[in-house]
Symmetry: C2
Subunit: 276 residues, 2 copies
Amino acid sequence: MKRKKGQLFLVGIGPGHEDIMTPAALDAIKQSDLVIGYKTYIKLVKNLLEGKEVISADMTEEIDRARKAIELAKQGQSVTLISSGDVGVYGMSGLVFEILKETGWKNGDAPDIHLVPGITAMNACASLVGAPLTHDYCCISLSDLLTPWEVIEKRINAAAMADFVIGLYNPKSKHRTEQITKVQKIISEYRTPHTPVALVKNAYRKKEHIVITDLAHFLEEEVGMLTTVIIGNSHTFIFENYMVTPRGYTNKYQWDGQIIKGQTRARSLVVDEVTS
Amino acid sequence: MKRKKGQLFLVGIGPGHEDIMTPAALDAIKQSDLVIGYKTYIKLVKNLLEGKEVISADMTEEIDRARKAIELAKQGQSVTLISSGDVGVYGMSGLVFEILKETGWKNGDAPDIHLVPGITAMNACASLVGAPLTHDYCCISLSDLLTPWEVIEKRINAAAMADFVIGLYNPKSKHRTEQITKVQKIISEYRTPHTPVALVKNAYRKKEHIVITDLAHFLEEEVGMLTTVIIGNSHTFIFENYMVTPRGYTNKYQWDGQIIKGQTRARSLVVDEVTS
């Protein structure tokens, strides 16, 4: 009997609520024999796992988890490796490709690889606080477990200087508490104390907690492992407890849709009198 | 008879394929009397629109579109305003809040506002080319219709200098062809010609087109309005036609999961001999 070729699904489940998990993610889990993931993420999808083998792992066991997923899929099983958010954003898919490379896997070899994107924390959290990402933004992880702090600090400086909206992943942990304070100091060199800041913990989950505050005061609030921090750019404003970054329409248009004198529809912005 | 309070759903439909559109997005469209959107996006969901009023609009009519959506929802209808990708990423939600502010809307007033996130082009495209976003990244729109070019150029410089993975939205249009050439030059000052670059057009749509190339050669390929460009950081590599940005595990671990001498699990990376 010909053995079935193994399948490995790398799946982002989004924040964890089924309403914003994609059908493709649900489908991958449904057709898998085995689901592997960090224990917190496994819990989020536990009602989808009946009748399946499940391997839930601890936080610092990513390499083991990825190797196991590849090995078992190679043997002919359908395996889903899940991450919360998007599996490609600080998720497991990079590590899986690194291990595939290390072990000499070639295109066409078992297992087949399937990537299923999910809604990453930055976008999920943004949707809970208004419209902070209507202009250029960046995502920076403050975890220095695998990245030298100097690299992270350089990115914070660059992002602050160039007026990006800044999303911070992993802002703090039990052993890592100083980084977010340093970040607040760096960004304050470039932006006013009133710059809007959103803190979102457990987005779309039971213990969801949202705070809209500002650059001068956000460290007074609770920030932890599961918090995503969104720091506005120099144009971001707070309106009725929503955080809003303008796209720039008022540079070119009046609110009745009429174009401002000197500007042309569908052509480069003329910058003489523009402040943005 | 008491009139129903109007509802305004701001909905990101993702790239357009139902398999990676969220149930929350589908549900918002289903319960709406009226769906408004740019005509290309309306086409993507046309099989969900039977029996509904539909207003499809042209590209440069965003203010009209947003005003109309607010006005009709205020009158008591359930209105969905759709964007492709995530409605909050260069999408319509920022503009809606700006207009609500302009017109004196307060929390509790009609319409109720509901934000439904979607998978943005950056994440959708990344999932089609491998794992380019496993480390810090930024999104920059090259459209200078509403943003001064100097602001965009400054962000490109900062992102290149600080070694972000860079995603470019709206890299080129009929009237706007020089920007992407300037960007290639700027980034080449900081990164090698072999830096991996992915070009993804029509992600998850019928005419999907993917090219994996590099910084020196990507301008030889077709780049247009509907292309998303992903430029790797200094560690990004190409493996079996996948683009992969390592998370940094090899800074701390061997491939058997053993920790490298001098490093400690769950503690800051010790950087003496680290190159990342």
